[in-house]
Amino acid sequence: MPEITGLWNLLIMEPMLNLLMLLYALLFNNFVLAIIGLTIVVRLITFPLTQRQIRSMKSMQDLQPEIQKLQKKYKKDREKVSAATMELYKKHGVNPMMGCLPMLVQMPIWIGLYQSIYQALGSTPEQFIGLSQRLYHAIPFMHDMATRSIPLNSQFLWLHLARPDPFYILPVLVVATFWLQQKLTAQPAADPSQAQMTQTMQWMMPIMFGFITLQVASGLAVYWVASGVLQIVQQGFTTGWGDIAKALPTGIPGLPKREETKKDARGKKKR
């Protein structure tokens, strides 16, 4: 187990932490900008993966009506339903694994990103000392950069980034971003109980993360918001703004209206 932890730190967490320190020095010694910068860098690196994941989920979403038909057709034979569904996926070139495989590959990266932010903030004195063991002292450029930057300025507007937000603004932002994310990614469910579950998830996830934000360093909440916003933008531009446009009838500036979403635009073209 210690070997796995060591390998994890060496390959995932420490490179990210040092990149974070570098971004902090380059982005005017502003830790919020550094977090946003690192989130963008990681998003760019994982872009091909996330893009495939979004497309795959969208394709599966588009096939839902046909799957419902199959479910009706083979009502009592579950094996036949799954065989026919697989055949349908095959026919349309959809690999159901592509929905979750890229996510599994990304998970270590996101956890590493999360850990590096947590480590850099050093919310306890013990944690701050631990930072010394993670920095690239042997690379002169990195060493000079870190020496100039540390201690990091963890104050941003009303926030002390190593402590929770005292005014609860970030928890609200986290809930809002997670809710929008859920709205965009939610798949129309075939049966009512599944639909209820999707509905529950749409509220449960944002609220859970909102509660966690009440307790953790606000720097992490900044990362959640930044990451969520980037995810929403990527999803929106790839598959259309879907439920968001529906949920916000008057629209937000810059956001296409319901009738202008990609799906509808495609429909118009066909006509």
Binding site: I111, Y114, Q115, Y118, Q119, S123, T124, P125, E126, Q127, I129, G130, S132, Q133, H137, A138, H143, T147, I150, P151, R163, P164, P166, Y168, S193, Q194, M197, T200, M201, M204, M205, M208, F209, I212, L214, Q215, V216
Partner: protein
């Protein structure tokens, strides 16, 4: 019917697993519990030790029975400051967490105070809030005693001079960033290092600045003054020797990681602990290295040098005794396994006392490194 039950189980599992996953995620950072790195202090037959649960305990060294503890009621979050005894009083700084709650909302505020206790019974003589009374900051450095004044440093960027008897403020001096190390008093001058990368020399009576020296990195180390030279480490990986009179640099020595602990001078050798895992013995006059010892983990605390032996604690590597002249290892505790220690060892009457991170106090034989006794302060009765 079967399908409905499965779906129900799935939903319940989802509800149960999601919070678990989030809690796990929150814990990924590697633990955020403050514990403290206060070193034990022996004065006569009494041993003073700060427990990892935020209390200061006083024990009889012969019987290991507790004499008193502070505070009696709610413990502090942690004690990083090593207590200092002057006359009938004991002084230390605290790291406290004030939790305010409204319905489900909780807010934690990290605070700190300077405390003066009666050494005989642990009764509070006075306390002084660092910063304003409403918004205080922790005091983690070991206080220094001067002429009728006790000096405290604080994370609120300031050094405070307080009346030894009453705790009333004589003066304060503000630096650019937090001060975690303790001050050092020498011949009417107070030396203090700040995370703003400067080492300050202040007039101990008035708080007027005499000079300041800009190091390459932040200073979290308590300076060590001997004769006309002041020694301190910095986060630029260097240890510096300055002329104590005017702050001119005499020499500096580069290690491979932060120099966090106070350097210690003993018979012409300066012992410098670095977070690069090495203890360096340098010629105090010019900084030339004589020997170095690889402790196997970061050395966060100053070593104790007594009668030709260096006693050293090193992160997870436990305790070492080294020959002060040659650096050769005399013994190591524990011989097998790990023992995490971030505080300095204390040597008295043939015993080495170590306040470990597992919450236990260890008494080791100074000559051979064998365990004489161990106890968890506050739980021995």
């Amino acid at each position: 019917m079967k399908e409905t039950t499965t779906k129900k189980i799935r939903r319940v599992a989802l509800w149960a697993l999601l919070p678990l996953f989030l809690i796990l995620l929150a814990g990924c950072g590697g633990g955020g519990v403050a514990m403290g790195w206060s070193a034990p202090v022996v004065e006569g037959d009494t041993l003073y030790v700060a427990s990892k649960t935020g209390r200061l305990h006083t024990l009889d060294v012969n019987t290991q029975q507790q004499l008193w503890q502070f505070p009696l009621e709610q413990p502090l979050a942690g004690i990083y400051s090593t207590p200092v005894i002057g006359g009938e009083a004991l002084f230390f700084g605290s790291y406290e967490i004030q939790t305010t709650a409204f319905l489900i909302f909780q807010n934690q505020d990290i605070q700190g105070r300077a405390y003066a206790l009666d050494v005989t019974n642990g009764q509070r003589k006075w306390q002084f809030p660092m910063g304003s009374a409403e918004d205080t900051e922790p005091s983690m450095g070991t206080p220094a005693l001067g002429e009728g004044i006790v000096y405290f440093t604080s994370s609120d960027h300031k050094v405070y001079a307080l009346d030894l008897e009453t705790g009333s403020k004589r003066w304060e001096y503000e630096t650019g960033r937090e001060i975690w190390g303790g001050p050092a008093w020498h011949n009417g001058t107070l030396y203090v290092g700040s995370a703003d990368k400067n080492l300050y020399a202040l007039d101990a009576a008035s708080g007027q600045r005499k000079w300041a020296f800009a190091a390459g990195g932040a200073i979290y180390c308590t300076p060590h003054v001997a004769g006309d030279t002041i020694y301190f480490g910095s986060l630029d990986n260097r240890v510096y020797a300055l002329n104590a009179e005017n702050g001119e640099e005499r020499w500096s020595f580069l290690t491979q990681n932060w120099v966090w602990a106070e350097p210690v001078l003993h018979e012409g050798l300066l012992y410098v602990a670095s977070l690069d895992h090495f203890l360096y013995a340098l010629d105090a006059s010019n900084g030339t290295p004589r020997w170095q010892f690889d402790a196997g983990d970061m050395i966060t605390a100053a070593p104790a040098v007594i009668e030709g032996v260096v006693y050293l604690t090193a992160g997870n590597a436990g305790v070492y005794a080294l020959d002060a002249e040659t650096g050769s290892q005399l013994w190591h505790y524990p011989e097998e396994g790990n023992l995490r220690v971030l505080s300095s060892p204390t040597v008295a009457d043939g015993l080495v006392y170590v306040n470990a991170d597992n919450g236990k106090l260890y008494a080791l034989d100074a000559a051979a490194g064998q365990l004489r006794w161990e106890l968890a302060p506050g739980e021995q009765e």
